[in-house]
């Protein structure tokens, strides 16, 4: 498929925003359950939520560049019963709203206790809003990934590994950003975030490598026989019916040599996973924030390359009909 930059930006930016939001909620939860003694200030969470909101907004802006008629974008919310794209369009603003609310609640320190459990732990408003926001963010990972995983005519995408990978990569980049932010803010949560970021980055790498391997072993359900319905073992296209280009020859292929794509795979494995993992580990050990900051930046660039490769490697069934120009 032909990767669209708007969608690369959209999926990586909102993934990082959702991951960061989930990191903040996790950090707060660590305190609530008593894993860390000192709670962060409300301003810390509000600042983090502001960064997450910025990432989400940038992603939303990028998505509009993908639409040819963005003035009708409101209509996309109407078919949520059947379309994952429509569901994403509904859940994304919900996540943005919840993130905003989470930041506001923390900024103003609205923490009335809503519920006290038997073990003397209590649920306050900020934590409750955090849980709701986290749930929405996880739902958004599902919606975004299912847009691609539900296209059954692109076998590289049509698997639950797409959902796993979108979620893990979003979480990894979000936690790395959270670690960088916490270290800049001098927060005691830095170590938690760095440890989680390291684990998530390595998990994301493992899952992505598995998907790369899986994609080399795919079998197409269709063949030239069923495509034109002629029962012959040897069918080749002589003409696709036109000499110029068409939507079918531009949208469904990327036009980059397979050597280059293979190089990009190595590049993203290094930039999105290996290098950030090393940097996070170093930053974790030494407590130096430039390392963590660099890790977050490098990882984001790496994930953009990863997303490009993900789209480019999708091979659509319709390409069988467009093999030869003459």
């Amino acid at each position: 498929m032909h990767p669209a930059f708007s969608v690369i930006f959209l999926t990586t930016l909102i993934g990082a925003g959702q991951g960061l939001l989930l990191a903040l909620v996790t950090g707060q939860w660590y305190f609530v359950i008593g894993a860390t003694p000192d709670q962060e200030s409300g301003a810390f969470y509000a600042g983090g939520a502001a960064i997450a909101e910025l990432l989400l907004v940038l992603g939303l802006v990028a998505s509009f560049f993908h639409l040819a008629n963005p003035q009708r974008a409101w209509r996309t919310a109407t078919r949520w019963r059947t379309s994952w794209l429509s569901r994403e369009v509904i859940v994304l603003p919900a996540v943005m709203g919840a993130t905003f609310l989470y930041g506001v609640v923390h900024w103003f320190g609205w923490t009335p206790v809503l519920w006290t459990f038997g073990n003397q732990k209590s649920l306050d408003l900020s934590m409750a809003v955090g849980f709701a926001a986290a749930g929405a963010a996880l739902a958004l990972f599902l919606c975004t990934a299912m847009i691609y995983a539900s296209v059954k005519f692109i076998r590289e995408w049509a698997s639950s590994w797409t959902v796993v990978n979108y979620t893990l990569m979003g979480l990894a980049s979000g936690f790395t950003i959270a670690a960088a932010y916490a270290s800049l803010a001098g927060s005691s949560l830095t170590e938690f975030f760095a440890g989680d970021a390291l684990a998530l980055t390595l998990a994301a790498m493992a899952a992505r490598i598995f998907q790369l391997w899986r994609n080399t072993r795919l079998k197409c359900r269709s063949s030239m026989k069923t495509a034109i319905g002629v029962h012959h073992g040897q069918i080749r296209q002589i003409s696709q019916g036109f000499l110029g280009g068409s939507y079918n020859t531009t949208e469904y292929r990327h036009g980059i040599g397979s050597e280059v794509v293979r190089g990009l795979v190595v590049l993203f494995l290094f930039l999105a996973f290996a290098l950030p993992a090393a940097l996070v580990a170093a930053g974790w050990a030494t407590g130096e924030h430039p390392m963590l900051l660099l890790a977050a930046l490098v990882q984001y660039v790496g994930l953009m390359v990863e997303r490009w490769v993900f789209f480019a490697q999708g091979n659509h069934v319709q390409n069988m009909y467009y093999q030869r120009m003459a």
Binding site: A68, A227, I228, Y322
Partner: protein, 245 residues
């Protein structure tokens, strides 16, 4: 009776690959209700254009034992169209009354998601209007009562000089289209995806004729051999009264 489903039946045994359906489709639709079908750089390097219908050519076998198959391809108006439920706006829809799959250009946002969900590559994006376009089965012709009844057919069907294209309700067993499918082993493309295309194709058929020896040699030839008849006299009368030579 099953729901009405208008569709095309394309006889691959008859199609000669002349592209008359391609040009007539482009002409009718670019100037009509569903147009324009824009071309970009039509006279320059790297031209690119929108068509609802393409004729492709395939070759089966290895030379010299080959067979050429011309294969017209357009939206198949699937009975279970995977392109419709994925549309986030509802711009893509399948008509209840006749099963035609259409795009409402006033609702489409141009996200292209529907085209990814068509295994046949039948949808083509119009980059000028920013909306998705595809074969409409000439919905603006087939119900036009200002046309004579026999002209109320898709432009491609009327244009085909070989008569390779039939149009009708494939769910009505009495229709010409349904009968052609039934009697000539009509089939659907890529049945493995469960899309149940409404358009059908009729397969290539080999026509054989068995001739027996006695059909080649005149059994009633009294001389038992073939030869020119004796030349008549120059003045002998002939059938046209001119000359017997």
């Amino acid at each position: 009776m099953a729901k009405k489903q208008l569709a095309l039946v394309i006889d691959l045994n008859v199609c000669v690959g002349c592209h008359a359906c391609v040009t007539s489709c482009k002409q009718w639709n670019t100037s009509g209700w569903s147009g324009p079908l824009p071309d970009q750089n039509p006279y320059d390097a790297d031209p690119n254009g929108v068509f609802f219908n393409r004729v492709q050519t395939f070759e089966c076998g290895t030379f010299p034992a080959t067979e050429t198959v011309h294969f017209p391809k357009s939206c198949l108006h699937c009975e279970e169209p995977p392109c419709v439920p994925v549309c986030p706006t509802g711009a893509s829809y399948k008509r209840e009354e006749d099963g035609i799959v259409l795009v409402d250009y006033d609702k489409c946002i141009g996200c292209k998601y529907c085209s990814w969900s068509c295994p046949y590559g039948a949808r083509e994006f119009d980059p000028i209007a920013g909306v998705m376009k595809k074969c409409t089965l000439c919905v603006d012709r087939i119900y036009d009562t200002s046309l004579e009844p026999e002209r109320r057919k898709p432009a491609c069907v009327l244009a085909c000089p070989a008569g390779a294209r039939l149009f009708g309700d494939v769910n009505d067993p009495e229709s010409e289209a349904a009968r052609a499918i039934r009697e000539n082993a009509g089939y659907q493309l890529m049945p493995e995806w469960g899309t149940s295309p409404a358009n059908h194709y009729l397969p290539r058929r080999k026509t054989y004729m068995r001739l027996h020896e006695d059909e080649l040699v005149r059994a009633d030839n009294p001389l038992k051999f073939e030869a020119d008849l004796p030349k008549p006299n120059f003045t002998a009368p002939s059938i046209d009264d001119m000359s017997s030579w």
